[in-house]
Symmetry: none
Subunit: 535 residues, 2 copies
């Protein structure tokens, strides 16, 4: 079986994404996770750029990797300077990383108009720089920036550039679609032309961006045309629309195109690794992400859910377990007993026939009243727990009151008071908040965390409101969805009422009660969400 290698650039090109910023320690953890996944090359960044990078390189040099090797990244030598006199280039050759990736120009427009050197000088810059790295014991990779634009402009010159790199000793020549504008047919044709031009003198690689929503397809098209190394980022981090998403490229190469990339065990760790990387990078995981998203194998439409129950392959392109993901049947009006039973099992609950029938009935009533459990699996689990006799009440509410006031001076203030009974003890508490839900949450936590201190760690991470069947504004029903997290797990709860405060209150109570329920299997995530696990 033929091999294709993965080259992850999260630590360098991925950092171009809006809001992306990692500490040295987080970068080390990213490298460990990528190594465990079986990625072959991990691009660490520029070795000489600043003290933080210097510290990173020191830390990375000490890491013992199982699979990957590190790559130091830099540019070809400056114009008119000998390679061995270019300090940045020399620093690259002195870094601990065995592989050095040099980016250089291959488009006449960029050579003549942007960096303003002659075509010949650019070829010399490429050749000298690669040769220096090779002489000093490094394995050089040449990243041909704007290659596809250059190839459109002047195919002959673009090919000369990559031939120069190969002739000087580049182990790999990677063709970059730097602006992300190229479509698959053009990538395939140019990659094939490079393969023919190099004739085995260097391996061909591909580096794409997602500006045309074709980064994955472009990478796969290049592999079909002969590329054997794919640069990108797990989860597709990066500037603008991101780099090519290795989390989608890896399973396609291995499960659909017959290449050997990583082991089956490593592939089965793909989804949790992708979620863990999102956590490290402080990025909200996109549920719709192919292969790894929590919705990627979620079925809602009645016909699809029935089809999947009969034979998963009828509406799934592959077995989610192969990529470490899970099937998810979304609770909806169409859900039958079989679905309810599956959901209960996933939560470690046993429902007999009678309890199942009651749960189906209860779900229908609730959905008719406006509840919607797809985004609130924790509230759904509480519903099942009540029917299974596995529900424990956290507190008893006597009353609450929330006051929001805009004073004559313009200040807005909110205050909530609450009267509850926890373990037989009555608590009266008051709290201020930046809004009514925040104030209620604070007052309730003051009351219950005296007895249950661990519930103080829960964070409300997202809050959504929808008005249902708006009957001209009044009498409308409000549905609230609340997401919570405690550092280990995330869960969603819901509340429905004519009154937005009461709907929010219900979702808030469900959130805390869900966290309070004893769990048969502590590792078991919420219903609906084997997919929400982050480990």
């Amino acid at each position: 079986m033929e091999h294709v290698k993965l080259y992850d650039t999260t630590l360098r090109d991925g950092m171009g994404g809006r809001g992306m910023s990692l500490s040295v320690g987080e970068k080390v953890n990213v490298a460990r996770a990528l190594d465990a996944l079986g990625v072959h090359f991990i691009e660490a960044g520029f070795p000489d750029s600043n003290p933080k990078e210097a510290e990173l390189f020191e830390r990375l040099a000490e890491l013992e990797l199982e699979n990957a090797c590190f790559v130091a990244f830099g540019m070809t030598r400056r114009r008119g300077v000998a390679a061995e006199a270019d300090a940045a280039l020399v620093a690259l050759t002195e870094s601990f990383a065995p592989v050095v990736c040099l980016v250089g120009k291959s488009s006449p427009f960029h050579v003549e108009k942007v960096i303003r050197v002659s075509r010949e000088e650019n070829l010399a810059m490429i050749a000298d720089s690669i040769a220096l790295c090779r002489e000093r014991g490094k394995r050089p990779v040449f990243d041909a920036e704007h290659f596809f634009d250059g190839y459109r402009e002047d195919p002959g010159y673009a090919l000369e550039c990559v031939r120069a790199a190969a002739a000087a000793g580049a182990e790999n020549v990677t063709l970059c679609d730097t602006n992300g504008g190229t479509l698959p047919h053009a990538v395939a044709a140019a990659t094939a032309a490079v393969g023919a031009a190099l004739d085995g003198a260097a391996e061909v690689g591909i580096h794409t961006h997602n500006d045309s929503e074709c980064a994955v397809a472009n990478s796969l098209a290049a592999v079909e045309a002969g590329a054997r190394l794919v640069q990108g980022c797990v989860n597709g981090y990066g500037e603008r629309c991101g780099n090519a998403n290795l989390a989608s490229i890896l399973p396609a190469l291995q499960l659909k195109m017959g290449f050997e990339v990583v082991s089956a065990e490593q592939l089965a760790s793909l989804a949790p690794t992708a979620h863990y990387l999102d956590e490290l990078c402080n990025v909200a995981s996109d549920g719709d992400r192919p292969y790894v998203g929590r919705n990627a194998f979620a079925h809602k439409a009645g016909m699809h859910a029935a089809g999947v129950a009969a034979d998963p392959s009828s509406f799934e392109h592959l077995d989610p377990a192969l990529v470490g993901n899970d099937r998810d049947i979304l609770p909806s009006e169409l859900a039958g007993r079989a679905t309810i039973r599956t959901q209960a099992e996933q939560a470690g609950l046993e429902l007999d026939d009678e309890a199942t029938a009651r749960a189906v009935e209860r779900l229908k009533q609730r959905e008719h009243a406006g509840y919607h459990y797809e985004a609130a699996p924790a509230s759904f689990e509480l519903l099942l727990r009540r029917e299974a006799g596995r529900y424990e009440s956290l507190f008893k509410l006597e009353s609450y009151r929330v006051v929001t006031e805009r004073r004559a001076g313009g200040e807005v203030e909110t205050e909530a008071t609450i009267k509850v009974e926890v373990d037989g003890v009555r608590y009266l508490r008051v709290a201020e908040g930046n809004g009514p839900v925040n104030a209620l949450d604070k007052a309730l936590r003051l009351a219950i965390t005296e007895r249950h201190p661990h519930l103080a760690d829960i964070e409300l991470t997202n809050y959504k409101v929808r008005i249902l069947d708006q009957d001209h504004g009044t009498g409308a029903v409000t549905r609230v969805i609340l997401d919570s997290a405690d550092g280990e797990r995330e869960w969603g709860t819901t509340g429905v009422s004519e009154n937005i405060i009461e709907a929010s209150w219900q979702a808030l109570v469900d959130s805390l009660e869900y966290a309070f329920q004893p769990r048969a299997d502590a590792a078991q995530p919420a219903v609906g969400g084997a997919t929400t696990s982050m480990s």
Copy 2:
């Protein structure tokens, strides 16, 4: 130039996405926005499924579209039943929609194992159903479900299915990658084979899903292989990983592949339309989305930003203005002076250079603070009116207070008190409501309608809340969008605050003030342009 047509299925297949749920009024607004964008076919759903759908079809039947035509969606006849005796099929032929799309099987596995009919019966089901639609004056489209899986299994039978549809009178045969697992080279090969097999007897279409992150590339590959209709959703809504994203397909077809799809003006409304649809669907817009995302032309890496300053084409694959987007930090299409001036003209306002500059500045500040005017054109018009000196204040607020209380008995009660000055007279009023916004609205109306009785007729028709940059629940900013109507017009307003009550108050005040402003041309809809107008 050759044409390719777009077929949007947001109202049907898009509704399979997690949490997707739209009221009838919102669906009508989706249809209007798609029509203004220049989409050719708008799939409305199943005409007979429930009272809500029946109401939708009644509303859609009254809409006057500029560009699009509606499609009713259903299945081929049941097995062993004559087409004219199949009630669901007959309902399709009786719907107002001129085009009917019928989904049917084309994979032997689905024919024999899932729906369990003979291969011959399946061919008859296709032919009979298409023929009935044609006889009864409809333009039939055949959606060949699981076509690419079927073609892999048994190419001969898959082709027989599409030939049966074409022979029975299908105007278009659309090949569906229902499970989203097919890669572009396979899509291209199968599409070319269909083209050869049909030999012009019917147009070929493509319908893909994003499970392999190749939905866009698959659609483009099919067009290269001869398809001339693309099904999908603007923004790629849908079950699992979503349908093909028409917002990425449209610019690729028109700007990169040389097809004629929509007008240049319509293409330049793509980004605001995509954002408006996200607002309607209550979906957080993904900033990294190709072409339309706020990051799509945002440059962070120093070298790239410098390159773009020198020549945008050095790091941009196309001019963002072509798709209604902006370079770098500007999050909306409204930011340029020319645009502001156009918007002002649409509202019958004159802005001189200085006022325009102030409006641009004010807009930037507001958007930085979290305001978002795409779905709130009336608030935007008020902003312009203030700069144009054409704003009249309705009242002066002294203070308000809202109390929501859940009593010991379980009843929830809400009361608002308000102190305002209207035309120099001070009013103190109190009102109860089913929620805090309703109570505030009632108290405010009590105060102002004594002087301005016509403002009593305004109805609040929709209310949306979004939490921005959720910084662990607290300190988050809340954005409220409020839709109002007075029987003649509909308008959207917005408010932003840490406090949901205060944000709602701002939107409420804007709604009433907007209705109160004197209007040069009473028929003129709110600012916000073709894509955000709601009248």
